[in-house]
Amino acid sequence: MSKFHSMVSRRDFMKAIGMAGAGVGAVAATTPVFHDLDELMSSSSVTPAKRPWWVKERELFNPTSEIDWDLMQRFDRKNEAHSRRIATMYRSVETIDAAAVTQKKIDADRIAKQTPGFDTKYQALKAGYSGSTESPAWAYPGIVDEADWAKTPEELGMPKWSGTPEENSRLLYAALRYYGAMFIGYAEVEDKWRNKLFVKTTTDAVRNWTWTPQNPDPPESDELRYVYENVDQPYSELRKGSTGRSAGKHVIPSKPLWLITIATGACMEATKTLDSTISKSNSSTANNGHEALKVRTFNFVRALGGWRAFGDGGHQTSESNFSAAMILTGLAENSRQGNYCLTPETGPNHIPFTMLTDFPLVPTKPIDAGLFRFCHSCKKCADACPSQSISHADEPSWDVPDVDGKPRVFCNPGHKGFWPDMANCNYYSKGGGTSGCWVCYANCTFSEDKAAMMHNIIRGTVSTTSLFNGFFSSMSNTFGYGPYESPEVWWDMSLPAYGFDSTIGAAKGGYSK
């Protein structure tokens, strides 16, 4: 039979169909059959953990390695193999002691010879997480107790890490990802940062200060100020102010410094349980991770070459406005909401903080994913805001409008933005209207998942053209995106560890998306 005019003969076609049918049949025979999603989700009777379909459950106490319960007795940990007792039971004391000496020599030789895998950067990476698991006390200059400081290469008799700023940047990025950071950006602390962006004071002096026309400001002696001095290391001089909070100064050295912007993940699904105790997801488990990240970064750069990483790290007490740092170091764009910023991957669902370091780095550049431009058309957060604290303006403005005849002092002019009424927001969410809020986070068009491919198609389109922004924004409402109907669904989701997708930013095959 000629195949000239046809790529597939009738016989070939039927054979292919038969093979495909057999294949599908074989797979179907070995695949669990679920009649609906509820059945699929309840396939494990105890947890909703998602396992591969080819993992089968067995009976209780009947794992794949056989057990004779008549033979089984309680184990005595005196017989544990990682003990000197057991070591010397099978080998002579001399042999075991000699091995311990040899082990120390091997370790010392590896470090001395800078054997790949054991050189300074590996020692620093380990120093970052060793001893930091208990989160030693932290203050603006760094780890409080010097006993918790990692040893420098000099103290260990190792060569100091020597790399270009580019190499340093890559090294720190890898370490920070390993320590738990999701988004990482850098800036060189030059004049714009020192004279325009770093704050003058923390909020300490005013947290408990009552404003009156006669006494609008607390005394200067109550202020905790950020000041620059020609010193080698950061330090603080603190005392108690009249309202009982810290006052004094945090000193930023005038020498060359770099800013590290870090954001950990936030549980978007927790945000979307709105209204619930966990819907304010920037108070989630990842927020506590900041303490470990600060300690780890401090010890990492110290163990690399005696550099210092420092900074308060609190969003009301840090030297930086975190959203500004996220935007200027290329991790996010500004938003209509004006308080949070939007990352291309997670929207407003991330938890940022900053640190300063004298470890030379290369600045990362701002990004354009069309997010802020999208906010011009999208007013979903503003419409949803129950206190109407978010601007409905069509375009951002340089001018900061007054609030009820008073200047909007809580907004810092100098950028073209949408100006939120954060005093009203704060009042509303602290009893003026309700307790807690987070409606804007849960209703943000970018607080969406990635499973439906339409989300990524839209994100790609938004970054290219603003032509469809209004349409996409209205479709977000039409399709019912926003908070879940009931917070109860959260408990059955089997979310990733820590409640967020830690593969965001992963480039290695197997994790990359």
Partner: protein, 90 residues
Amino acid sequence: MWFFIALIAGAGIMGLAWLLKIKGVKLTWYEWLLGIVGFFLVLMTIQNYFGSVAEYEQEAANMFLLVLGLPAVVLLALAWSLAWRRRSAT
């Protein structure tokens, strides 16, 4: 899921091509276009429907059935109808 969809779609396309050949039906360029767009929309509907269900966004899933699935069915039916009528007329 995509593996099985591709398997079924591939078999379906080959079956369709075979059917058209033995029935002696030749499709016009616009029938091909309608069919291809309709088929593409079917795939988009399947992916976005199940993706949205996985996201716990049932309302969005239903909307995808409406805004992608319905046009897909219409386009495929139109392509089939045009080809069938033309064949019946000859």
